[in-house]
Symmetry: C2
Subunit: 241 residues, 2 copies
C-alpha cells in the first residue's frame, strides 16, 4: 500500500515543494516542475523515459521538466525524498534553463563527482528541513540553497532539448494525456491500439512507436498495468464498503 509519511508544502506560489514518502507504485506521469528524487532508505525502481534504474539508499536522480517517469517498489520497503522545483524560478539567472535536458544522477562513482553528489544530498536535505521548519529567514535560505543546488546540477552533462530525438513537446504531452485519459475511461472493455489510433488520426505503427518512445513501455504493458491497478483499487474499496 502506498502511504504518505510526511507532507511538507509551503503555501502559495512558493517555487519548491518537498515530500517524504514511501511508494508501492506511482503511475507514469509528468509535470512542469523539475524534481530530485533521493532514496533515504531501501531501494526503488524508477523509470525515466525509456530507461529503468534501480536506486539504492543514498542514490538520487533528476527528473527534467515534463519528463515522463514513474516509481515502483522493489522487494524492500523504501523511503524517498522528492523535491520539486518550479523551473521558472531560475529564469533570471539561467534564462535558458528549460531548453536543456540535464543528465544528473548519483550513478557515477569516480572521485571527481562524489563531492557533487554529497553537495546535492546536502542541499536537498537543507531545503526540505527549512520548508518543514519555517523558522525566521527560511525563505532566504531556501532561495540560496536552490541556487547552490542548480550550480551542482549544471555541472552534470546537459543537452539542448532541440537536439534530442526523444524530446517531448507540448503537443506530444497533450497527445499522451488524451491517450491515457481514453484508456482510463475504457478500461472495462476490450481496447485496441487501432481504436486509439483512429481517435488520434494516427497509424497503428506510428502510435505504437510513439507510446513506447514517450512512455518507455508498450501499449499492452501500459494497459495491463493500469487494469491491474484499477482492480486492486476496486478490491480495496469493496473491502471498506
Amino acid at each position: 500500500m502506498t502511504y504518505y509519511y510526511e507532507f511538507v508544502y509551503p503555501e502559495g506560489e512558493f517555487p519548491v515543494k518537498a515530500k517524504i514518502h514511501s511508494v508501492d507504485e506511482i503511475e507514469l506521469h509528468w509535470h512542469k516542475q523539475v524534481e530530485f528524487i533521493l532514496v533515504l532508505e531501501g531501494t526503488v525502481n524508477i523509470r525515466l523515459g525509456q530507461k529503468k534504474y534501480l536506486l539504492q539508499t543514498g542514490d538520487f536522480i533528476f527528473v527534467n521538466s515534463n519528463e515522463v517517469h514513474n516509481t515502483f517498489k522493489t522487494e524492500e520497503q523504501n523511503l524517498l525524498l522528492a523535491v520539486q522545483i518550479n523551473p521558472a524560478f531560475y529564469a533570471f539567472i539561467y534564462p535558458n534553463f528549460t531548453d536543456f535536458y540535464f543528465d544528473c544522477n548519483s550513478f557515477g562513482q569516480n572521485d571527481a563527482v562524489l563531492h557533487r553528489h554529497a553537495n546535492i544530498r546536502k542541499y536537498l536535505a537543507r531545503i526540505s528541513w527549512e520548508i518543514s521548519r519555517r523558522q525566521t529567514g527560511f525563505r532566504s535560505r531556501i532561495g540560496s540553497y536552490l541556487f547552490l543546488l542548480a550550480g551542482e546540477l549544471i555541472a552534470f552533462p546537459f543537452y539542448n532539448k532541440a537536439d534530442l530525438d526523444n524530446a517531448i513537446s507540448d503537443e506530444d504531452l497533450n497527445r499522451l494525456q488524451r491517450i491515457t485519459n481514453y484508456i482510463e475511461q475504457h478500461l472495462h472493455r476490450k481496447l485496441t491500439l487501432q481504436e486509439i489510433g483512429e481517435e488520434e488520426h494516427l497509424s497503428y505503427y506510428y502510435l505504437s512507436h510513439f507510446i513506447k518512445d514517450k512512455m518507455g513501455i508498450s501499449f499492452q504493458e501500459y494497459l495491463k498495468k493500469t487494469r491491474m491497478q484499477r482492480a486492486v483499487e476496486l478490491l480495496l474499496s469493496s473491502e471498506k464498503a
Copy 2:
C-alpha cells in the same frame, strides 16, 4: 571630476549589476532597481527622499525601488560600490517584496545589528567579485548570495508602502519626470514655479510642496543646482572644442 573606476556589468537580463566608482555628484534620480550603496573609501553625502546622510567608510545604505536619491561628494575623495538588483528576481520567494519600504542602513551600532552589517558587506563584496570574475558557477553563487542578502535586508525594519505618507506612486514619478524634463529644456531662461504649475494644472502651493516632498529639495534649489551643473558641462565642453 566624476571618474569611473571600474564598470562590471553582466550581459543580458541578469538581475544584478555592480559598479565601483567615484562621484562628484549624481543628479537626483530614481529607478525600478533596488540598490545598495557601500562606501569603500572616504565619505559621501547621500540624499534619500527628504533625508540627507553623511556616509563614512564602511557605511552602506539601501535605496528602495523608485526612491528618489542623489549622491554628492564631501571634502574627501570617495570610492563607492553600487549594487543594483531587479526586485522581480525576488518575486518567487517574496511575492510582496516591492510592496514594502525597507529602512536598511549601517547607522545603527548596537551589537544586535553589527553582524548583520558585516554580512551585508560580505554579500555585496562577493556578488561584485563574482560578477567581475565570471568563473565557472558564478551564476549559481550570485543567485545564492542575492538571497542571503535579501535575508539580511528583511531583518531590518520595513513598512508597507501603502501606509507611508511620502510613498511615491507611478503617477508621482511620471509627474516628476515631466517636471525635471521641463526644467532641463528651459534652463536658459527665467523659469518660475507658477509656469510649471500651469503646465501641470497644479496650484503653486501644491506643486511647491510636491517637489520638496518627493525630491527632498525646493524648486529654487533644484533649479540652481541644475543650472550650475549645466554651466560646468558647457565650460568643460568648450575647453575640449
